[in-house]
């Protein structure tokens, strides 16, 4: 599978999905008006990856901001990961949040309570 490499913009995150390494990363700001347009290719890619995933997939989410429209799309990403996990593959989500950013921590906990995949909450301290 061709990896996905997307450079971040002020409104959309940097994305690196590499099926060779099994490490997926979404980083930066995700506040586009039309989030479906941005996330649909990622969700489709994960749908293909689901067919033959690595034994272990690590997902790093390191967002500074995301809007509510992205929050639904991010849930769609997690639902694909949940399906991979359900098919007896190891999946781990590392949810990063900046020191003191309780809103971002709570957002991670929301997903953790909805999605049956192990989450690790990691505080970023400078």
């Amino acid at each position: 599978m061709e990896p996905i490499m997307i450079e971040g913009t002020p409104k959309t995150p940097t994305v690196k999905f590499d099926s060779g390494e099994g490490i997926f990363e979404i980083k930066g700001r995700s506040i586009p008006e039309n989030s479906v347009e941005f996330y649909k290719p990622l969700v489709d890619w994960l749908e293909s990856y689901k067919e033959s995933p690595l034994d272990k997939t690590t997902v790093n989410i390191r967002l500074e901001y995301f809007n509510t429209s992205s929050s639904k799309c991010i849930l769609d990403v997690f639902k694909k990961l949940e399906a991979i996990h359900k098919a007896k593959n190891e999946v781990e989500v590392n949810w990063y949040y900046e020191e003191d950013d309780e809103d971002m921590l709570e957002a991670g906990e929301d997903y953790e309570s909805i999605i049956r995949v192990p989450f690790k909450m990691i505080e970023i301290t400078d």
């Binding site: 901001y65 509510t68 639904k72 849930l75 950013d101 809103d103």
Partner: protein, 186 residues
């Protein structure tokens, strides 16, 4: 008394205005406003926690306008597609963000019900409501997720202030009044 949006502004205190905008709320305008407010808050060395909350609330309130504004009345002076207004003001202990837009009478009741429901909910109930909508509601044809107001209430921890000012039989002008305040120590 004639309808005049400027009257609303002239009744507001003039001091500590961070930003004041009236006009089309398209994607470029949103970018510009977000950059400008963020720069100003960084320049005054605002606490990161409060700065992030203001930014988040601003994103949601502007994108609410972007996705949901009704078309302006046919006889209104500014015939703009996505007509909205925004004021960001520094206040004691935080920031006040006011948005305004036209709402058709048929959509007014639904919007008011939504706000009332949010305002009578506890913080815990708002969290649950957010999760429920996140998990059960699809993104609408307009592109909104139906989560904007809930998110604003959740992040600020404050009640949503609002007012509908009658324009004519078919339209009201809707003001949303949001307080983003520093959190109190427990």
């Amino acid at each position: 008394m004639s309808f005049n949006i400027e009257n609303y502004f002239s009744d507001q205190p003039k001091d500590n205005i961070i930003l004041h905008y009236k006009g089309n709320v398209d994607s470029d305008v949103i970018n510009h406003i977000l950059d400008s407010v963020e720069e100003k808050l960084v320049a005054v060395d605002e606490h990161p926690k409060l700065r992030k909350k203001v930014y988040n609330v601003l994103v949601e309130s502007l994108q609410n306008l972007y996705h949901h504004v009704d078309k302006v009345p046919d006889d209104y002076e500014d015939q703009i597609d996505k007509y909205g207004l925004l004021v960001v003001r520094r206040i004691e202990g935080g920031y006040k963000i006011v948005t305004g837009n036209f709402v058709q009478t048929e959509n007014k009741e639904k919007l008011e019900e939504k706000i009332k429901r949010i305002n009578r909910s506890s913080h815990e109930e708002i969290k649950e409501l957010y999760k429920f909508i996140l998990n059960h509601q699809r993104i609408s044809a307009k592109g909104g997720g139906g989560l904007g107001l809930v998110d604003i209430a959740r992040k600020t921890g404050n009640k949503l202030g609002y007012e509908f000012v009658g324009y004519d039989d078919n339209y009201s002008f809707f003001y949303l009044d949001i307080l983003v305040t520093e959190e109190k120590e427990n």
